[in-house]
Amino acid sequence: MNTHIDNHPQHLNANNTNNIANPMTSLSTSQSVELSKQSPKTRQQSSGPPPTPPQPQNVSSFINSWRLWAMVITLILLSLWSSWALIAQEWTRPISELFLPSSQLDIASMATQLHLVATSIVALLAGGLLGVVSILLQQLVKNPLASDTTLGVGVGAQLAMLIVSLFLPSLAIYGGVYVAFVGAIISMGLVFALSAPSRFNPLILILAGLVVNILLAAVANVLVLFFAERSNGMLSWAAGFLAQNSWSTSLMLAITTIAMTAVCLPLLKPLTLMSLDDMQAKRLGVPINGIRATVVLIVAIVTALVVSEVGLIGFIGLGAASLVNALGVSSISKRLVAAFGLGALLLWLTSNVALLLEPILSMQIPAGAMTGILGAPLIIWLILRQRRERIETVIPTLTGKNTPVAYWRWGLGVVVMIVLACLFVQDVNGWGVSTDWAITEQYRLPRSLSAAATGLMLAVAGVLLQTLTRNPMASPEVLGVSSGAALGVILGFLLLPSLGFSAGAGTLLMSGLSGAIAVLLLIIWLARRVSSGYLLLVGIGIAAMMDGVMHMVKLSGDPRLEAMLSWLSGTTYSAQPSTVWYLIGIALVLFALSLLFIKPLRVLGLGTGVARTLGVAVTPVTIALLALVAALSTASTLAVGPLSFIGLMVPHLATSLGAVRLERQLPLAALLGAGVMVLADWIGRYVIFPYELPAGTVAAIIGGAYFLWLIRKVPIAVSR
């Protein structure tokens, strides 16, 4: 059904492009419209906003903006209070001495001074710079959700630094900024290339950023695992510790801020003009492409500078930019200044809180991890604010010819693959053909079978989700359920022993399930309030939260948690001959259930309005489908750990092989998912035998590479 889109969504799309072209005005119009109407549910934005005259400020809008300003003031007060608390905790001398030149203090006091003052300055400047970068990005792609995190700029810089640090450490020390710059440009280019065919549709853009984030993080993971001998010390740099030892970083960031101000001043006017409309700006003589390229360069340079100095700090830019949007600041110069200030405050507050928590948790807490943990509530809040924007379009990124599919051939292929995976193995003597049935039955076969079952479940979940949200980039991990399950397991592992329970297999299962159910409930609650497209962003937030928690886990250094870390990357290590059959049973049952849903799902794919007229109960079916997707991803997460990309790419793979209609796509995707996972698992197990690459990481790399190849096949006349 994905290709036979009739004219209706194209009409929607054309209007949505207009919608997107006026982010500031549409946001403020939507805000004022939202504020003045008492029944927001009846508001239909799907026909595009008519040019609205500026609404008079009435009482409710005044209260709302007052609320926002109150929040900003609270932010300022919290930052000041936390830094005061920090100073009281660490600095025993009079406050005035905190600002003496370093050489006049004795060593211990100087160290504390650096720890407090230099760290604060770095936090303020880095946060401010990231906020400004995000605002610039939002101007660029005209999307209120763009930022350095969601567009994958920082992760590219970090990966480049990691590669160079592993193989050319001297270059990393002296040329770190240039390396990071190249990395940032490459990853940004990837994201833009992925979303360009759909004309930078906001959701596609964000999801492209997610894809790039996952892919590059997987590559970084593989490198660290491959070259374990050399990656000592990488971890703490990558986590985003802000604590300072000298003034050099503060100086560097201060210079960057001044330079950036100087560079942005001449750009203000063109940017203001470009925010109206591309055609109008061109007529007014603005060199659009030149300005765009300049902005991209600035963004890349500044992000590279920040990342190379302090590591990856996520979500501060998004938070600052979204606060600026919420405050309704419209003039570009004021936006930049406000973003700088808000970003500075946010990061300063986070850094202070991290430092205050250190003695309590008796371990170093990186500010970069804390921002990840704060990112999820921020995104959810952002989505709730954004829910006026209904993005109902679907942009098919891949069309295939509707050809008959010979299932039995694919099924046979999967079986053959499993057999081969059990035969060509490495053992004590190196590579060879395995003839030992006992070991195969005990260790190899359960793992391959478990990989197949998980691949099947995730692929089915991906097909269901993509058809439900009519978005080609949806997938179960993006929904956040697998991250929720993983979070549940981590927290259970950490907290249950102190509560008196033993952290065994059964209790961890329960905690994982409860995490997944919590996320599912959140999604169901949100599903009634926002368009299903935006649900996918909840997953980004939750995945970021899990990332932050994982970082803290890694840094705590507890050796038992190391075993958990590989599970978190998705591995079949814990597959046992007895339980794998249960897993296969569950997979087949859920698959059969999903087959039952094909008919209503096809109708839902035409649009909720059409579906309702055709007699499909939209909300119950949607909720049932979401529950099914959650069950599928929870089962696979608990067995194998959170996996990426299978649910994202296998449906497209199925479509490209000719299974265009849903009835064909679902079974074929199931078979392909099983096959791909078996392959990924086999590669992960034997490529650095006896060490292992997590199957999830290998699948993410295969999927990412496939996605890059996919871009070439995008049809040109997609969304005119």
């Binding site: 370093s102 004795d106 060593i107 211990a108 100087m110 160290a111 504390t112 650096l114 720890h115 640090s165 450490p169 001297s170 990393a172 020390i173 374990a228 001998e229 050399r230 000592n232 010390g233 703490s236 740099w237 510790f241 604590a243 030892n245 000298s246 050099s248 008796s362 371990m363 170093q364 053992d427 004590v428 030992d436 006992a438 070991i439 039955e441 005990q442 260790y443 190899r444 397991v489 297999a505 961890l508 299962l509 050796p559 038992r560 190391e562 075993a563 590989s566 599970w567 290590y573 814990s574 046992q576 001959p577 007895s578 249960y582 897993l583 608990l638 067995a639 035998f689 006896p690 292992e692």
Partner: protein, 335 residues
């Protein structure tokens, strides 16, 4: 489903004794020697019964020149066994052994079973493991080895301060486990002699330096300082030196400190930095204002030691002593 514990089934290739050969050899004896025949028959049968790796209870006493195959995921035990001349057949994380442990070098016959805390189950199933020597950190993976006896040997301080006995005791226990107590005793005596020699050499090279503080950098700002319940205490006290500490450590033997805390050390305390130290961290330390003020390498004495496995056994002690005796100290009382 989420479980690292494996249920192990008996799946070894059972070496079928060629019973028929044994019978033939017995029946060829003449009838007159009935008693002798009966005796020989009985002994022949028992000799034919090759122990399968799974049936440890029925194990016959190994003749003296057959080694017990020990799998030892714990590096301290593996290193001490290797230094005693009885290397284990398997241990974990061998690819980073050189970076973190250094000496002794493992023989090439030792099999790498992957990550120590999560060893490769299918590889272990193919190894003829007779005994597992580890400690409570690795208990969760014990079931991977099947029904072999698992012994827990831990080289750690029993009290607040680590003593020489904390290292000789487990060594002797290891010797008992491998049925070679003399090997262990010889090794203990040799180690004692080596450490004393090392102490004398150090005294000769740097007679003025009496106090040491030992740190390992996690990054430029955060480091671990090793305290009295780590292996540095017995090593240094055996060499007649003093270990200076800044506070009470945790059960792993260190206290996390920041760069600025080093200012609390006296001027005559020599700082020892344990490798590995990545080049990036090295550069960052050099750039640090605090480090420059502390002036280690100029006004204060400092030195860099090759890697030593902090949780290691007697072999770590000996290696550490040897490295200390050959270390290059710079600055302060050393020049």
């Amino acid at each position: 489903m989420f479980s690292v514990l494996y249920k192990y089934k008996f799946s070894r290739l059972i070496i079928k004794p060629s019973v028929s050969d044994c019978f033939n050899s017995v029946l060829l004896k003449r009838k007159g020697w009935a008693v002798i025949t009966a005796l020989v028959f009985t002994t022949a049968l028992t000799a034919c019964q090759q122990p399968t790796t799974g049936q440890k209870d029925a194990r016959v006493d190994q003749p003296d020149n057959v080694k017990i195959n020990i799998a030892s995921p714990d590096w301290g035990n593996a290193a001490t066994l290797t230094a005693m001349g009885y290397p284990p057949i398997a241990t974990g994380d061998i690819r980073v052994w050189d970076r973190w442990v250094g000496t002794p070098k493992l023989p090439t016959s030792t099999v790498d079973v992957g990550i120590r805390y999560q060893p490769n189950a299918e590889l272990i199933a193919q190894l003829p493991v007779d005994m597992v020597v580890d400690n409570f950190f690795y208990e969760h993976a014990r079931s991977l080895y099947g029904d072999v006896p698992a012994e827990s040997i831990m080289f750690a301080a029993k009290g607040e301060s680590a003593t020489w006995a904390d290292y000789t005791e487990p060594t002797r226990q290891l010797g008992k486990l491998i049925d070679e107590p003399k090997l262990a005793e010889d090794y203990v005596i040799k180690s004692h002699k080596d450490i004393n020699l090392a102490g004398a050499r150090l005294q000769q090279r740097y007679p003025n330096i009496k106090k040491f503080a030992v740190v390992q950098f996690a990054d430029a700002n955060n480091m671990r300082m090793y305290v009295a319940n780590s292996l540095f205490q017995p090593a240094l006290s055996q060499m007649q030196k003093e270990l200076v500490v800044l506070g009470l450590g945790n059960s792993y033997g260190f206290v996390p400190i920041r760069m600025g805390d080093l200012a609390q050390l006296d001027e005559d305390v020599c700082l020892l930095i344990i490798d590995p130290l990545s080049p990036i961290t090295r550069a960052e330390i050099k750039d640090s204002l605090v480090w420059q003020r502390l002036s280690y390498g100029n006004q204060r004495c400092m030195g860099e030691l090759p890697p030593v496995w902090i949780y290691g056994g007697m072999s770590s002690l000996v290696g550490l002593a040897h490295n200390l005796s050959t270390v290059e100290l710079k600055g302060g009382a050393a020049s």
